[in-house]
Amino acid sequence: MTTIGTPVTAPPPPRWATLIRNNASILLIYGLILLVAGTAAIMAPNFRTPTNLVNILRQSIILGLIAIGQSMVIMTGGIDMSMAMVARIVALTVATLFLAGGSDPALIVPLVVVGLIVGAAFGLLNGLLITRTHASPFIITFGIASILRGVNLAISTTPIRGIPEEYLLVYDAKIGIVPINVLVMGLLWYLVWLFSTRARTGRALFAVGGSERVARLSAINVDRTLVIAYVFSAVCAAIAGLFILSRTGVGDPGTAEGMDFQSVVAVALGGISMYGGKGSLIGTLGGVLLIAMLSNVFNLLQVDIYYQQLLLGLVVLIAVAAYKSPRSA
C-alpha cells in the first residue's frame, strides 16, 4: 500500500492468545469435562476406578457413532433426523434375518454387510430427496424417520430373539483392558478427522456448508457432496444399530430411541455451527464424552431420571450461551 501517514501497527497478539481464541469452543468443552470429572471424583469414589472410566468410553460408543455422522451432515448446513430410525431398522432387519436363518453364526458376516447396505440405501434416499427437491433437510429426514418408525413397528413390537451367541461377543470383546468397540470407534473418529481435514470431499463438505451457491460456482459438485454426507451419516447409524444389536442380544423395537436429539446436542456442545461450514470433530467428540460422563455420574450418584434430563438440558444451555458470538453491529 502506498501511504502518506503510515498506519501504526501494533505487534500481533501472542500466539497462545490466538490459539485460545481460535479453539475456544474445544477448550470450553474439555474444560467442562475436566470440571465434571473432578467433581465426580470427589463426590463418587467409584467414579475413578479404571473399570468405570472404560465404562464411560463404552457407553459413549453408540452416541459417538451417531454423532460423528451427524457432525458431517451438520457441517454441510443440514441435519439428519432419521439416524435413530435407520439404526433401528438395521437392527430389526438383521435380527429378523438371523431368526429366519436359524441363528446360524455363518450368517454374521453377510448380515453385517446387509445391515450396512440397508443403512446406506436410506442415506442415499435422504440425499437424493434433499438434492432433488431442495426441501429443508430437517423436513425430509424427519419424514423418512416417520416412515421408518412405522415400518419398524410393522416388523416387530416385541424383542426379536435368535441372535447367534458369537455375534454377542463382538460387543464385549477386548484387547487387554480396551474393548474392541472403543478401538473401532477411535479408529473411525481418526479416519473421519483425516477425511475432514485432508480429503478433497471433506473440504467440499465445509465449502457446501459455508455457501452452497459459492461452492457450486467454485466447481464443487454440491449434490454429490451432500449425498455423500447423508450416506455417511446413515452408514454411521447402521454401524450403531449393529453394535446395539450385539449389546442387547435381541432385536429391540426401542433401539436408539432419542439418539437423534442427543447427537444434535453433542454436536452443538462441541461447537459446530448449526448453520454449517464451521466446527471441528474434536469438539463433537468432547460433546459425546461429556454426555456419556454426565449420565454415568448421574447413575453413580443415583440421580432421579427426571433430574438427569433437567441437568442435561441445563448443561446444553450453559454451553450454548458460552459460545454465543458477539452481537454484530
Binding site: I4, A10, V214, L217
Partner: protein
C-alpha cells in the same frame, strides 16, 4: 486541516452545521482505522466521502451511526458534544443510514417497513393500519415516489431501486435529517440512477444533510456540494466540488496520479475459443450469437437486467438453455460450472460476497477451492502443495495482507475480489468471464485487476468482460457487444468506442433497432 476549521466557523449566513466530527481516532487490534478524522456536514448539502477501500469510510460511518465508539475525538450534533454515540442515541439525534444491503423485511408491506419502528397507534394501543398507510404515502410523496410504490405491496415484489426509496422513507419516518448513503448507486441499474439523484436533490432542498459515499467520481461531480477524501484513516482534504476535479481527487485518494488506469492492448487475437449461435436462455435472453477469440477482451455492455449476466452464467452451464448452441473448442460446451472449470472456462461472478467467497473461511480455503482437483491425489489433499499454490496466488495477484489464514470476511472489498480472481487464475483457465470485475473496489485494486486481464490475453486466454462501468469497457475491450432487453443490439469495434455510442445502443427502443441502427459487426481480424 486548517481548511476544516475555517469552514465550520464560516460566516453566519452559511446554513447551520448539523454534524461536526473533530479528531476522531479508532483503532482495531493495533491498526488505526481512523487517525484524527475531521468532518462536518451542513444542512442542505450533499457531502461526498471518497477514499479507497480500507481508507476508513465505513469505520467513520459506524462512528456516526453509533455502531462504534471512537477512542478519541469529539462528535458534535445539534450543538451538543459527545465522546461517542450508541445506535439508539444516534437515531434519536436524527442520524439515518441507507446501506448497500437494505434492512428491509421482504415479507412485510411497504407501509409496514417504513413505519416499523414507530407505527401509529389507534384505540387499545393497536396499530392503526389506515393511518400507517397514509403516513407511508406521505413520506413516499416527499420522495416523489407515491405514484410508483403501493404502500400495501410486499417489499419483496419491488425492484432494487424501489426498495432503496422505501429504505430512505424509513429513515425519514424516524425524522432523520443527517442521512448517510453508503454507495447507493452500486446496487442500482443505471436507469434508476436519475430517480435516486432526484430524491437526493429533494432531500437537500428540504434542508437535510446527506453524506454520500461512492466509488464513482462522476456521480460526485454531478451531485455533491463538497467532498472529503479519506486515505489510510486520515482526512486528506475537504473541498468544494466545483473547485476540484477527478485527477486531483484520484491523486489524493491513492497518493499518486493514475496516468493510465488501463494498460495498453498488447495481445494478438487468435482463433475462436467459444461461439454461441442463436442462444436463448431462460425467458430473458434471446438469439445471442457471439464469438470470443484467444487473446481478446470481449466487452459486454448493457443496462442492468439487459441479459449480460444471464449470458455470462449460461456460458458456464448455469440457467436453462431453451434454444441455440454453445460450442467451445469445436465441441459442445460443458453444462455445469464444475465441468466448465475442468475444461478451462471460468466465471468470476458479480457480487463476490454472494457468489464468489465462502466468507467465514480463510483466504487459503477460498483460494484452493476450485483447485482441489490439482491439489489432491486419490482424493487426499497435500498441505504442502496447497501452501505453495496459495502462496503463488497471493504473490501473483498481490493480495494484502499476505496472510493465508485470515478469514475472508475480514478483508477489504478489493482484496476479496482479488481472492476471487486469484482462485480462478490458479486453475490456468483458457477463457475467463468477468462479470462486473471491479464493482465497489478501489482504484488501486482496479488497476491491478486490469493488469491481470492484460496478462491473461498475452498468454492467449480469451476474456469476456461484462460491466456497467463504461470507462472500464472502453479502456479494456477489443470489441464491445451491447445488450438491450436480452438481445445483442450492436457490436462496436475499438475505433467506434464512446460512452455515447454504447448508451445509445443500450437504451434504444425496439423500434429504433428495427429501423436498422445497429452498427454492423466488425470484420474478423
Amino acid at each position: 486541516m486548517t481548511e476544516q476549521t475555517s469552514l465550520s466557523t464560516a460566516s453566519s449566513t452559511a446554513p447551520p452545521v448539523l454534524l461536526y466530527l473533530n479528531g476522531i481516532f479508532k483503532t482495531f487490534g493495533g491498526i488505526h482505522a481512523l487517525s484524527g478524522v475531521t468532518f462536518d456536514l451542513r444542512a442542505g448539502e450533499v457531502h461526498a466521502l471518497v477514499g479507497e477501500n480500507g481508507a476508513g469510510k465505513s469505520t467513520l460511518i459506524k462512528v456516526i451511526t453509533g455502531a462504534y465508539t471512537p477512542d478519541a475525538g469529539v462528535i458534535e450534533i445539534g450543538g451538543e458534544r459527545y465522546a461517542g454515540l450508541d445506535p439508539e442515541l444516534a437515531r434519536s439525534l436524527g442520524v439515518g443510514a441507507v446501506y448497500q444491503e437494505f434492512n428491509l423485511l421482504p415479507e412485510l408491506s411497504v407501509a409496514e417497513n417504513i413505519l416499523l419502528a414507530k407505527p401509529p397507534l389507534g384505540r387499545f394501543g393497536l396499530i392503526d393500519t389506515a393511518e400507517r398507510a397514509r403516513q407511508a404515502v406521505q413520506l413516499l410523496e416527499r420522495l416523489g415516489a407515491a405514484g410508483q410504490i403501493d404502500p400495501y405491496q410486499l417489499v419483496k415484489n419491488l425492484t432494487v431501486g424501489e426498495q432503496q426509496i422505501v429504505e430512505i422513507a424509513k429513515a425519514l419516518a424516524l425524522r432523520a435529517h443527517i442521512l448517510i448513503m453508503d454507495e447507493p448507486s452500486a446496487v442500482l441499474p443505471s436507469r434508476d440512477l436519475d430517480r435516486l439523484f432526484a430524491v437526493i436533490r429533494t432531500l437537500r432542498a428540504e434542508g437535510h444533510g446527506i453524506i454520500y459515499i461512492s466509488h464513482r467520481l462522476n456521480e460526485i461531480f454531478e451531485l455533491a456540494d463538497r467532498v472529503t477524501v479519506l486515505k489510510d484513516g486520515h482526512t486528506m482534504a475537504t473541498a468544494q466540488v466545483a473547485e476540484t476535479n477527478t485527477p486531483d481527487l484520484v491523486k489524493l485518494m491513492v497518493g499518486r496520479s493514475l496516468t493510465d488506469l488501463y494498460p495498453p492492448h498488447d495481445a494478438a487475437r487468435g482463433d475462436v475459443l467459444l461461439e454461441t449461435r442463436g442462444l436463448n436462455v431462460e425467458d430473458t435472453v434471446f438469439d445471442v450469437s457471439l464469438q470470443v477469440h484467444r487473446g481478446e477482451v470481449l466487452g459486454l455492455a448493457g443496462l442492468g437486467g439487459s441479459g449480460r449476466t444471464t449470458v455470462c452464467r449460461a456460458l458456464v452451464g448455469l440457467g436453462r438453455i431453451r434454444g441455440g448452441s454453445v460450442t467451445y473448442l469445436d465441441k459442445a460446451a460443458p453444462r455445469s460450472p464444475a465441468a466448465a472449470a475442468h475444461e478451462g472456462i471460468v466465471l468470476i461472478p458479480e457480487d463476490r460476497k454472494a457468489y464468489g467467497l465462502i466468507l467465514n473461511q480463510t483466504m487459503r480455503f477460498n483460494l484452493s477451492l476450485p483447485n482441489l482437483d490439482h491439489l489432491q491425489h486419490f482424493g487426499v489433499l497435500y498441505p504442502n502443495e496447497e501452501r505453495d499454490a496459495v502462496k503463488q496466488a497471493i504473490t501473483d495477484i498481490q493480495i494484502r495482507p499476505a496472510a493465508p489464514e485470515i478469514t475472508a470476511e475480514n478483508l477489504s472489498g478489493g482484496n476479496q475480489q482479488k481472492i476471487v480472481v486469484g482462485k480462478w487464475l490458479l486453475t490456468h483457465p483458457k477463457l475467463v468471464i468477468f462479470d462486473e470485475p471491479t464493482r465497489g473496489i478501489d482504484v488501486g485494486a482496479k488497476a491491478e485487476i486490469y493488469l491481470r486481464i492484460r496478462e491473461l490475453t498475452r498468454q492467449g486466454v480469451g476474456v469476456i468482460m461484462a460491466s456497467s462501468e463504461l470507462p472500464e469497457l472502453i479502456g479494456m475491450s477489443d470489441r464491445i457487444l451491447v445488450f438491450h432487453e436480452g438481445r445483442i443490439v450492436g457490436e462496436l469495434s475499438r475505433e467506434q468506442f464512446s460512452e455515447e455510442a454504447i448508451m445509445q445502443l443500450a437504451t434504444a427502443t425496439k423500434a429504433d433497432i428495427a429501423s436498422g441502427t445497429p452498427i454492423p459487426a466488425a470484420p474478423s481480424a
